[in-house]
């Protein structure tokens, strides 16, 4: 129960990060996405890489990303994810929301 609620807390942020990373247009596998998150966030979101996968599958079920099997740079079979058009729309919306929220919180903090 505790584990699930923590996942819920992270979910929105993680979803946004994944969509943002896939925005470049390249299809990426889970490991690559996890590495990108680590690099971009400066190791902040490094722990518990496993929680990335339920998020990826969730996004796939929503129809925002699309998965297909391909061959990785080391010649192994890997699952590659790609952003769909409705995923692009979703990213736009969530990014806007995020920005609004951030601005709002920033203003509140400045005021105090």
């Amino acid at each position: 129960m505790h584990r699930v609620s923590r996942l819920d807390l992270l979910q929105g942020t993680l979803d946004l990060l994944i969509l943002r990373i896939l925005q470049s247009g390249h299809a990426l596998h889970g490991w690559a996405i996890s590495e990108r998150i680590r690099q971009i966030s400066g190791n902040v979101l490094q722990a518990n890489q496993g929680s990335l996968y339920p998020a990826l599958h969730r996004l796939e079920h929503q129809g925002w990303i699309k998965a297909e099997w391909g061959v990785s740079e080391l010649g192994r079979r890997a699952r590659f994810y790609r952003l769909t058009s409705s995923g692009r729309k979703q990213l736009q919306q969530e990014a806007d929301n995020w920005a609004r929220l951030a601005t709002a919180i920033g203003k509140v903090l400045e005021m105090a």
């Binding site: 796939e60 079920h61 929503q62």
Partner: protein
Amino acid sequence: MTLTDLRLRLRALFLRARVEQELDDEVEFHLAMARHKHLAAGHSEEDAIRLARLDFGRVSSVKEDCRSVRGIIALETGMQDIRYALRSFNRNRNFVLAVSGTIALGLGLNLALFTLFNAYVLRPLSIRDPYGLYAFTWSDSTGQEHAFTWDEYRELLKQKSIFSDVAAVQGVYTRVEGHAFRGDLVSGNYFQMLGVGTTLGRPLLPKDSDAPGREPFIVLSYDAWQSRFGGRLDIVGAKIMIRGFPMEVVGVTPREFQGLGESPRDFWSPLSMAHRLQDGPDLFGAEHPESLEIIGRLRTERSVSAAEALLLAWSKQMTAQSTPEHKATGALLRSRATSIPLTPELLAVFSPLIAAFALVLVLACTNVASMMLARATARQREIGIRLSLGAARGRLIRQLLTESVLLSIPAAILGLIISRLTIDAALWTVFATIPKDMLELAHDVARPVDWRVLGFMFFAALISALLFGLAPAIQATRVSVISSVRGESTSDVRPSRVRNGLVIAQVALCTLLLIACGALVRTTMAMTTFDIGFHTDHIIAMEVTDSGRRRVMDALSTDPEVDAIASASSVPLGGRLPVVSASTGGGPTIDVARNEVSSQYFDILRVPLLKGRGFSIEEASPEAPVAILSAGAAARLFAGRDPLAQTIRLEAPERVVRIVGVASDIVTCCIAYGKDAAVLYSPASPSKTGNLLVHVRGEVETERHRLDTLLAALAPGAINDIHSLDQYRAVGIYAFQVASMIGMAVGGLALFLTLSGIYGVVSFFVTQRTKEIGIRVALGATTLMVTTLVLRQALRLASIGISAGVLLGIGVARVLASQMIFLRVFDGAAFAAGVLLVLSTALAAGYVPSRRAAEIDPINTLRYD
């Protein structure tokens, strides 16, 4: 549920192993890449593996989370949709009421029909393993099906490899204390085989059939015990007289068991009592009558077709010594699991009824679809905003469909209530109108709401939800985002076009239904007033046993109220007559129906003799070589020549008869088939053979009752059946009267639904064009002009629908014309009445909105925007 989601979930469902393997591979790949990275950073192989696992977290819980994603998404959005729909229902309670009420009307009607169908046709009899029970018959080369002799039954009992048990049954139809009393003579194993016990006393046992006539035992049905013997608890051990023979009651069956046939049984007795209770040849005598019905419990390992093959071989062996036309060529097993077996013929007979009822449900759905469209149009702005905010169209359609399905739940419950009320009302009507003598043969069974009825209810409700929900959902989400956000809903938005289409379809179906109902009602009226060619008044028909005939004739001939007695092998209006081939020397050979009648037959029925004379007293025997032809038979056999004193040859059995008279045509078989085409009358005597036709002076029903009681005392058990000819006539028409009543009820409901459909659309038309009408009025349009504008809209829709309905009616009539014999399918009056009724309904439905339109105040409407 998005389409992607559905696809992935189906994939997970059907390709579970593959989806799991992919998940394993994906996780494995991640761990391999992590290990690779740690190795490159200089860790040992062992550390690299440990670190990779540490970074990843618990593999099993990650996989579990991935799995739950497949299930959760749909559930989440589904709950959202439901919450959203319930909130909007709460704001529009009248809308919810109108929709569920309309669907419930159509659903309730169909549910009532299904409940009855279930009770008689689908619900298994309350016996042990009903689906293992089969009736067996064999047929000869002419297709004639045969019953069995006692010896054949004894042989069949030895065939243990096909049936685990076989019972023999023979129906008995007699009268006890002025009431019809129907029973089955059964082999001793009957109750054991069926697994039926008793509420009181004991059932019949194999030992009861040991020797013919030794033990006169009888088991009563629960209903007979209650209605005829007042539910007396000391009934077991009491003696009751059947055919003048005392029988000892040994038990009473449970209420649920009323026998295996289509009509309920009042009693059961051992077959060994046949010679006491049965008229006709002795079952155990030298004649070997084929009079037993065979019902067996099929061995569980045998399929029906395999058993039929074995039984065919057995039948062929049994009939190997018979004449060629009496050899078995087919063997047939019919399920006896339900009181009426479900056959294609049964469905064919009831298909018009089923179709009419289904049409009413479709009409109700059309109405609701129209209401949903109106609502969707009113919600255009909301839908437009949601679309412009990026809501997927599929998601919105799903939302609207969720609303439909939710609406169908109260509709289903309301429908169930309506169906119970409908059944009660229908039964009340039937009991109030049924011909009196038919009532005692009516088979009333339990009509429970079981899982089949509930299943049908939910299935029908769901189908109607899709019917009324899908088109509006698709249509409503096809709005222009720009204009709807601006709040414009112009009259050329497509929903109103779809609504018009719906109303036109509705008018067409309604017209079709009304035309069909009109034809049915007119047919029934025509049958009621049809000239049957003879008079039924003051005549009582009796079926008497051969052994009691002498005493009955003595009692009747000395009775002061009895005017005349005639006999007929077939009572007029009593059903089909046997057919013989007849030919003149050199002339055509035709099939004629044959009735053996006494000379008084023509007198008391007042059938005019057109030529010649009736039978003389000396000729009063079927062997006398004379005959009277019906006018139709004379015309077909002699084609204009004088038939008097001519001879004709009859076949099977072959003989030559001389024509002594020609009688005018009458209806002998059934009113529905009209007058018989050709009848040949042979002479007979009431004191020797045939049913008695008794002409009485007084009121016929009083006399019938008096004679029934009198004869029960003077000639016990001699009367099998006694009815007035008026009742025969009433019974013959009754089925059509019931059909007419159902037709009028269905037609009325259809008309009501159409009325509300047209009203809805025209009202909406007025609301949508309020601005336009306001401008017209401001520019000087009169009340009449505005009213006409609105009414013209109603009439335009109605006239298109009516034309389509009339075309449909003609089409249906052409199909039915080949099946119905008496029914007048191309009935101009029915067509005209249907069209007029629908047209006036359309006008009435348009009138109220048109008045509202006429009262529009231009100032208010123009200020509105």
